[in-house]
């Protein structure tokens, strides 16, 4: 598959999306059932709340070959667990600035609020992040190399 990509000479990023079970995952589901088109670069990981996303998940995703990471949760105030997304917001604000300081493009780590009824917004967010990550290119800074693939 990688060779095929090289032939076409276009970079297709891998994006890992952490979607919260109650809003964003349902939003993605709605986008699917409504047959909206969005880029196929995104790989979804469902978490119970965006507050579950440890910043190390982001770092590990980038290490293991992701070019971009998206964290999506309920809108502030709508969290199923009342305050989970507020904590994530603080954490990611700090993490994004730290990564930029180290020299990782800030476009690679994104956050979005997507509610269960916002199928269109989910599709738009995925389009936007895919475009941005395409522009900055593959993440080669601290990707794991010489790893045995199973």
């Amino acid at each position: 598959m990688n060779e095929a990509k090289d032939e076409m000479n276009e970079f297709e990023p891998n994006i890992v999306a952490f979607l919260c079970n109650w809003c964003s995952y349902a939003g993605a589901d709605l986008a699917g059932t409504s047959r909206m088109k969005y880029p196929p670069n995104v790989r979804v990981i469902r978490v119970m709340c965006s507050g579950r996303v440890n910043p190390m998940f982001v770092i590990n995703a980038l290490q293991q070959g992701a070019d971009g990471v998206l964290i999506a949760g309920c809108h502030p105030g709508d969290c199923h667990y009342v305050q989970g997304n507020y904590y994530t917001r603080r954490r990611m604000a700090v993490l994004k600035r730290l990564l930029e300081y180290i020299g990782i493009e800030p476009e690679r780590v994104q956050m979005a609020w997507v509610s269960a009824s916002e199928g269109q917004k989910f599709a738009d967010v995925i389009k936007e992040i895919t475009e941005k990550v395409k522009k900055v290119g593959p993440q080669h800074h601290f990707r794991r190399r010489n790893v045995w693939r199973i």
Partner: protein, 323 residues
Amino acid sequence: MANIDELRRIVKEIVDREDVKYVIGYEKGTYGFRVSPSFAFTPEDVEKFIFSPLCVHNLAVYPHLEEKLPLKRNEKEDTRKIGIIVKGCDSRAVAQIIQEKGLDREDVVLIGVPCTGVIDLKKINARCPHLMYGEVREENGNFIITAEGDTHRIPKEELLCDVCTQCENPNPILYDVLIGEEVESKKEDYQKVKTLEKKSLEEKWKYWEKKFDRCIRCYACRNGCPLCYCEECMVDNLSPQWVRRSVTISENTAWNIMRAYHLAGRCVGCGQCERACPMDIPLMELNKKLEKDVKELFDYQAGTEEEPVLAVFSPDDPEEFVL
């Protein structure tokens, strides 16, 4: 710097108390200019205590490093207090640990010493490589080194630790006894962080790649840090294994991001990690960056507030980065 006789007298009184197990202070080291931590269980032990600009260590690490053996039958737990000699940054570290409920205020007796800055041993070795052993005292903005019969007078700025040159809390913020007079605090301007921030992403990565590449992952930065006191560190955890053990740029970067991030809003800026680092990685530049960000974003300073910064939130936190 505090008067040594007064310090010894007060520490003796504290060690003599029924409810105090021991007091942690400084004694003369066995090699070079080094000073080593010292534990006084009896008033006689206090005689070897010293206090000079060479007392660089942050003694707030020790309450968590103490080994707690399993109790024998009918044996009761020793709940006596631990005395610690604290400088400004050390007291902030203790305050931060208390705030996180890692320690109880009742568990410690804090002997506060206002600090006028400590010496960077690397700078002393670079400045006078011919001196092997010696003592240092401070006088009118100069450090006076007495070594091998000679005295050398060196301006303070040349030997002071980088973090001490801009210390905002030289006076202990939390103490039971204060020895000596309070000193004037300086202003932190984050100059190093700001210059690095202005560079392009590639330059920044090139800079850090070179630094992280040197890391041998000895975890001395973690062990020296008074705030890295988790019972099991994420880096030692094998299931899940957050960071692999191989020393490659990928794992080194992940480790250094992880270490710095765990200290976001918690680092008190004592500089112990950088001092402990055998590979001279400028870890304080990472820590200061986080300190600056947390100050800008949430108006928070470690060790001075009620709750840890990432354990609380405000509905109107900045969110301009959210899509």
